[in-house]
Structures are given as structure tokens and as C-alpha cells.
Amino acid sequence: MIAQNIAFWIIAVAMGFAAIGVVRTRNIVHAALYLVVVLAGVAAQYILLGAEFVAWVQVLIYIGAVVILFLFGIMLTRAPMEGDSDLDNDQRFPAAVAALFLLGVLVVLLLDAFGGTKIKLDAAVLATGKTAVVGDAIFRQYVVPFEVVSMLLLAALVGAVVIARRD
């Protein structure tokens, strides 16, 4: 347990700084790279929680595809590659207040609701750790939503093409 706790804190701190980096950096490409760190950290947390399959999907889709898409977006909108002080708008201060306020409410709520709750990781890994279990759930219990999601992906594909087409 100690080793896992140490791993958690190291990863969590790295994720925290990287997340703040995403929203504070002045270089838009750096923001994308910070995002990679956060996403990888989330994947590591998944592994800590025994959700191995989701972790690898996270790595493949987010780091492999989504971040690349972001980089394409940055290139296509011809964002300045070097530092640019003009990335934030003028409601930075109220935005920070709103976000901190929300965080405060959430933390109070969580401490109140789940103060002493613990996760039994070994049992969790036994119950839900296998990819076979996830596959079973998707293709039995959740097969209809799964098909609907595939339709949604198709719709998003067509939609993206239609929106971005030059005509």
C-alpha cells in the first residue's frame, strides 16, 4: 500500500502542475505538451485503480489521437509557435474565483460524504481488473449504447467534414 501511495502522490503532484500549465502557459504548443502529461498521469491513476484496459485506451486515444488532433488544430489556425501574451481574455479573475469556489464546494462535499471511505484495491482488481470482464459488460449489458455510440461517431465524422469543408 505504501508503494502505491507514494506512486499516487508523485503522479498526482505532476498532474496538478501540468494541469495548471495547460491553462496558464503562454505558448500554445506547450499547452498541448502539458496536456500529454496530464493524460498520461490519468492513465497511470487508472492502472493504480486496476482499470488496465481503460488505461491503455486512454493512452491510445487521448495521447495517440486527440493530442495529435490538437496539434493539427494549432497548425491549421496558424497560432504563433513562440510565446504569446494574448492567450487569455479579460475575465481571468472572475473565472479563477468561480473555479476556486467550485473546487471549494466540491472538496467540502467530498470530505463530508466520503471522509473515511477506503478502496480495497486487491478485491477491486480481482473483480473488475480483467479486460474480459469489461468486454463482457460492453457486449452484453451495454450492447445497445455501444451501437448508439458507434452511430454517434459516424455522425460526428460526417458533421466535422461538413462543418470544416471549404465551399
Binding site: P94, A98, A99, F101, L102, L109
Partner: protein, 686 residues
Amino acid sequence: MLDAAWIIPLIPALSFVAILFFGKKMPRQGSEIGIVAIATTFVLSCVAAVQWIQRVNRYEGSHQGLGALGKSLMLSTQEHGAVVKPVVHSITWWQNGAFKFGIGIQIDGLAVMMLFVVTLISLLVHIYSTAYMKGDIRFTYFYAALSLFTASMLILVVAPNTLQLLVGWELVGLCSFMLIGHWWEEGANTNAALKAFLTTRTGDIGLMIGVIITFFAAGTFNIVGINQYALSPGADHTLMVVGASCLLIGIIGKSGQFPLHTWLPDAMAGPTPVSALIHAATMVVAGVYLGARVYGVFWSGFNIGDGGMNPMAVIGAITILIGAALAFVQDDIKKVLAYSTVSQLGYMVMGLGVGSWVGAVFHLFTHAFFKALLFLGAGSVSHSGSHHSFDMKKDMGGLRKYMPITFWTFLIGSAALAGIAPLAGFWSKDEILATAGQGGFELFAIVGLVGAFLTAAYMTRCVYLTFFGEYRGHGQPHESPKAITVPLIVLAVFSVFAGLANAAPLGLEKFGEYVEPKFAFPPVIVPTFDYGLAGASLFIVLSAIGVGVFLWFREEEMHAFKGLTKRNVLARGGYALLVNKYYLDDLYEGVIVAGIKGPIARASYWINQNVIDAVVKGAGLAARAIAGGTYTLDQDVLDAGYDGLARETGASGGLLSRVQTGRLQWYALVSFAAIGVFSLALVIFR
């Protein structure tokens, strides 16, 4: 078929989806889908009607077959005697706690009658529209909306509980809105659609509250259960009065009763087939249908069985008179028919109010045929005769020579509406009047007779202006295509013969026997056929037609006749005009003047000068005094109040508009802040 009747509303609903998605691709742009679907529905409805009749017959037959002992056993086991039960099927739609809300069917005589009427007229309107709407920019959309309307109306008709009825009720309102505003490019049409929607919505609030009240009173949404509760001796009378009043407001809104009738004439902005289907034959009678469906509530709430005044009968009577009076002064043929519809719906509501359940429902049945016929006839005139105009004075006249089929069918429809025996309208109107007269509602019977007089007179005027005289339009009038004339002929046949379904003196009283929901029904009186009353109403109608002819000629003399004389003198030497003029003189001198010259004339002149004049003068003075007071109140109190209100609204609007920066992230900020505040509130006040 009775058990599987849920399929009847389903077919047009599927047809709506099919037309929406595939209509444009079809060779006839979706109209064939609609026609096939509605034709199927019509056939199924006919099957259902036949099976219901067989069910009633079998039931009665089995009771006659039983011996005396068996009959007495049967009577002792069933409290209300031997009655045929409706076919009710219901599945759980949604569930709240232990309470289930059902959706399903209740098939009884009333429902199969409505199924038959709705599907028949819908089918004819579908066929008619292939010609009438030809080349319209939203042809496919029009057919989709027609299908949706038919489905909604059928959902309403088969509803086993008040909730499903409410759903169907709102759906038909929506379709009415869509179809009135079919040509939304013109602002007037959009306004008419909005007006219709909002006015009926006003009534719907009453309906909704009424549904809730009846639910809390009876503990169920089921129509049979509500009726049984309302008619049981233990019913809470206060709740019944309030519930009946609220439901009556719903009827007033939907069925164009005074004072919410104003939307119906405006609704004529829609295409004419829509007016025929929705605003004459089906949707507007939904209110009457509701009244007939939960009749127990009205019966016990308004004490209809005791005779005397009740709001339902009074509203109906007022509506008869104002509708008929307004129909006189319209130049637009559709407006005449619309006010006529208002007036006839008044008959139905008054019929329910005076305890003539069968009469009201029967009038609904016959009115659907002849009023749809008249509307479709008016559409045929505008389509082929008057170059898409509905103005009788400007663009019509003399069309009987050019459009014989339209003329004859329109004449039959008018005669049926006026109530000339033995056409449809005569029997149903007479049933209402006879029940009113024999049930202690003599005053309402008299109002009904006056209404019959006015109806006959304005229909005479309408027919004259449209089909007689000289053609005043500028187009090339010709007969309409088959798709238009065939529905007219079919409806004309029904207008002639539908009345025989309940013609008492001929020994045909089948309508009441099959349609009455005897399983939960108040002890209404069955009127005996009154030859005196029937003769009187027939005489009134005929004399009204005579007066109508006279009025029309005089009107011509005063307004349009001079123009006609000049044109005819210049053009053709005025031959035909002279013939007409002599004819006019004969009529004028022989019939009217001779009658008026005698002592009656002098007496009535005296009364006119001394009594009526005094009354009128007094009323005028009183009205002026009241108006002066009202004016002061209006200017000084109300106006100032409204001005202040408007100023405040403007100021606060200006202040609030600063929040609307238009920037996406500002809105997001506000939403997130709100989420945070609300979560905090939840945490604190948990």
C-alpha cells in the same frame, strides 16, 4: 378488430414518419403514402364499426334468448341491468410510485362513430388535396402534417383515460397551428396560427385543471371510472361542479364557444382542405367529444337532469345566436362557413347542456359531413371559379352554370345545414330541440329555433352570392377536376342520408342504440318525436329561406345592383337584367309589401315608433353614460397604469440586456458560478 384497434392511430403515425423521410422521393411527393395509409385506416374503422354493431346485437340477442329466469338472474347480477361493455385495453405508459399511467384504447359506440367520421373525412380531404394543393411549395410537408393530425385525432378518440385524451388534444392543437400557418410567408397567416394556438391554449388550462380535479375526485384517470364515480350517489358535488366548470372552459376554447370563438374565423387563413378537416369536421368537435366522453361529470356537476339554467346550455345558446348573426355580415365565403361552424358547435354544446347526449353526438356526426362538404365546395369554387379568392361579392356569382357539380353538392350541403327534411341536419337539430323542449329547457328550444331561422337565412345569402346572379370575377370559371368533385359527391350522399341513422318517425333509432355508452351513463330522457316542433322548425327554415331571398335582392338593389345595371345596359342591352328585375318586383310587391301593408304593418309600425324606439333610445342613453364612465376609467386609471408598467419594463429590460454580452465564455462563467452557488446551497441546506 375491436381488440386490435390500437393499430388504427398507429398507421397514420407511421405514415407521417414515412412521408417526412421519403415523401419527396416518391413520384407523387408523398401524397400516395398518406392516401394509402388513411384508406387502410378507414377500412379498419369500418370493420371496427361493423364489429361493434355486431357486438351490441349479439349481446342483446343473447339476452332475448335467455328465458325469464335467466333474464332475472342477469339483472340481479348486474346492477345497472344488462349493458354491453366497452373494449378497454391499456398498457402502462409510465409509473410513479404505485400509480400507473396507462395508454391504450377504449372502443365503444362513441369511439367507433368518431373513428368512422374522422377517417372518412380525412380520406376525402387527402384525395381532394391532391388537386387543391397541386404545385404547392410545401406539398409533402402538408401531407405529413395531415397524417400527423389524423393520428393525433385518432389517439384522442380512442383514449381510455383523460391523460391520453389530453395528449391527443394538445397534438391536434399543434397540427392545427402548423396547418393554419401553412403559408407562413404572409404575416397574417402566421398571426392567425398563433392566435388559434394561444386561444385554444387558454382553454386547455381549464381542461388540464379539470383533468386533475376529476382525478382527485374519482381517484382514477380512466374515463369509465370517472363517469361511474360522477354518477354514483357518493360523488362529491362541489368537486364535480368545479371539475365540470374547468372542463367546460376546455370545451369553450377548443370548440370555438363564446367568448373564445374568435380564433376559428381567423383560422380560415389555412388551406381550405385543412379548414374542412380540422376546423369544421374533427378538431373543433373535440371539445364536444370531451363533453360527451365525461358526460357524467357535467350531468352531476351542473344538475342537468333537473332542468333549468346551467352554464353549458347558456354558453351553447349564446354561441348559436352570435355565430349565426356574425355569419350574415361576412363577404368571405369561408368566414360565413366558419361562423356557421361556431353556431353549429353551439348547438352541440347546448345539446349536451340540456341533456340531449344523443342529439349532440348525432349533430356532431351529421354536421361533420355537411360542413366538410360546404368547406370543400367553397374550396372548389375558389380553386376553379374565382381565381383563388374567397370574396363572394367581388369574385363570385353566377357560378352554377360553370360548376354544376359544385353547385348541386353545395346546395345539398346548405339544405342539410339549414335543416330541411329529410336531409341530415334536420334530424339531428330536431333531436336536440325536442329533448330541450321535453326536458324542461323550453327557452333553449326557442333559441335553437331562432338559430335555425338565422342559419337558413345566411346560407341562402351565401348560396345566392356565390352561385346566382352574374359572374363578377375576372377568371375563367370551369368545373373542378375529379379529385375535387368526387369527395364532394361522396359527402353530399352522406349529407342526404346520414340523418336516417336516427330518424324517429321512420322507426330508425339505431344511432342512439349503438352509440350510447350505456355502461356508465346518466338517465337522460329519450325524446318522443314531436311532429308539431318538427313542422314548426321546418316552417321556420323555409320562411327564412324566403326572407333570405328577399334580403339578397334588396341588398343587390342597394349596393351591387346599380353597377350591374350599368354594365348590362352597356354590354347587352340589359335583357337578362330586366327579367331579373321584374322577377324582383313581383316578389317584392306580391309577397313582402302585401304582407306588410295590412294592419300588421300599422301595428308593428306603432310598436316600432313608440315601444322599440323608446327602448332603443333608453338603451342608447344608458350605454353612453356607461361608456363615458368607462372612458374616464380607461384613460385616467388603466392607461396610466399601463404606461407606468411599460416604462418599468423598458427600463429593466435595458438593464438586463447588459448581461447579454453575446460572448460564449461569459455565459459559461455565469452558468458555472450558478452551479457553484446552487451546490453550496445544497450542501448547507441539506
